[in-house]
Amino acid sequence: MHLRQDRLTASERMDALFTYQKPDRVPLGAMSTGFNTRNAGHTVADAYEDPEKSYSDMQWTTEQYGWDPIPQYAGHTVLGAWDFGGDVRMPKGEFEGALVVTEKPVNSEDDVAKLELPDPATVGRIPLAMRFSKLQFENNLPVYFFSRSPFTMAANICGIDLFLRWTMKKPKLCEALLDISLKHIINALTLWLETFGTDRVFVWMSSPSESNQLISPRTFKKFALPYHEAYHQRLRELGVQRFGQHICGEQNLNLPLFAESPPWPHPSVLSFGHEVDLEAAADFFPKDIIFGNIEPAVIQTGTPEQVYELCRVAIEKGKKAPGGFILGPGCGMPVNAPSANVYAMTKAVHDFGFYE
């Protein structure tokens, strides 16, 4: 079977979406790191600790599967546990696909007051992320700055179970962690903007700890939402032009709260997990580009036919999104996904994704 030919470049396709014009076809995003390095014969750890390998493996894999570079990052730029004095290690062994926190910076109430703002130029994996971003810059790709949300970062600093307990019992401690998280994210982002320019930086965020499998919409409204608002206020002041957020997992109860007054500029890219129906997402956010939402567990364990069918349905729904649509996985591309399943997404875009 022949694949249909694209009429736009990836960059033109994204420009079209960000100006509310219909591109030639639905773009295909991947949110992929370890899958790329494995595809090129390297290790998952290489995706995190070797920016050059990660970058080139990402480009080759992007070419092989016909992905659009939305988003492209080699792991997070800023990390709560690592940046504030804790420790992480690289994934190892057959069953690890992400960085592992080995020591948290905050283990008790007293530790919170001792926290200091880190130097954004040197701490954690920020220097590695900077090398990766330089490669994007040099090769005329969007330069991605990737952080967790302030809420997720704050929870990462002291561990999610302690943070959740504090939301009920010691809200002031949570606020202290949220404040310092926001400041650190903005400091690091400022460094990116100064290095690469506001017109080249694409700011991306994910918020897995805000999932309703963990917190209620009440907790979201009280602790997470104000910091999204503060964060975007700063982004506006800094002149950031493009933004995307991976609204991770089951967040259906949070969406109406976001939708009351979305804090981000329009259009932004909003990526959803399989837990959120794409049509519902488009209804809540008609001015934004909806991204998603093929279930990663199906990409990993299902058949190519199952993945293809999920994509067909997603494309059918997504094409109706008034703000635009990008097909992609519902969370990070599984490192061990069979190649044919990943290719099924490409095939589905080329079979159903063109706009006539």
Partner: protein, 217 residues
Amino acid sequence: MKEVTKAELLKEIHDSVVEFDEEKTTELCEKALEIGIPPYDAIMDGLALGMDAVGSLYEQKEYFVPELLLCSDAMYAGLDILRPHVKVDEHQTAGKIVMGVVEGDIHDIGKSLVKTMFEAAGWDICDLGKDVKLGKFVEALKDTGADVVAISALMTTSMMAMPKVIGMLKAEKPDVIVLVGGAPLTEDIAQQYGADGYAKDAISAVQVAKNLLKKAA
């Protein structure tokens, strides 16, 4: 001291768990011992019933994980007071279970909540923690003679260990019941992996295990 009936005190213990009041739960459990309420009754009809109610509130989406964690803290605080006083022959275990987060995965909130619910339901628990090497599950099964092994995973990478460990467990004890759970898991995937059951959350896990045990009996 105000006179209080057994029923009233048990209800207060129940409520203190639901209201996640650790201090109050501790005080009430101490009081229960003072006034001669059998500790086993205080556990089953006070603490455990309280956690049942917490489970319902979670299912109704009134309570979420923070509440569950704090309720579980209250329950454990009460258990710490009462358990040492329970006579061995009084304690009828509902079943024996080994549980852990599979090798390669360090996300254990879900497993901790599952543990709480099984504890409340009167099971004997061997908690292996997180990032549990596959061989350790088998060792623990051998050592405890457990009826059920419950394994959780949050990541698509770590869930790939499940078919392996399930195969190892079944080779060790063919009639062991294996229960799996975690965000990327589904009923279908659990079946594909050779598990006997799947639980979508901590609350349903106990019932799924009970049903599987009954079926096997």
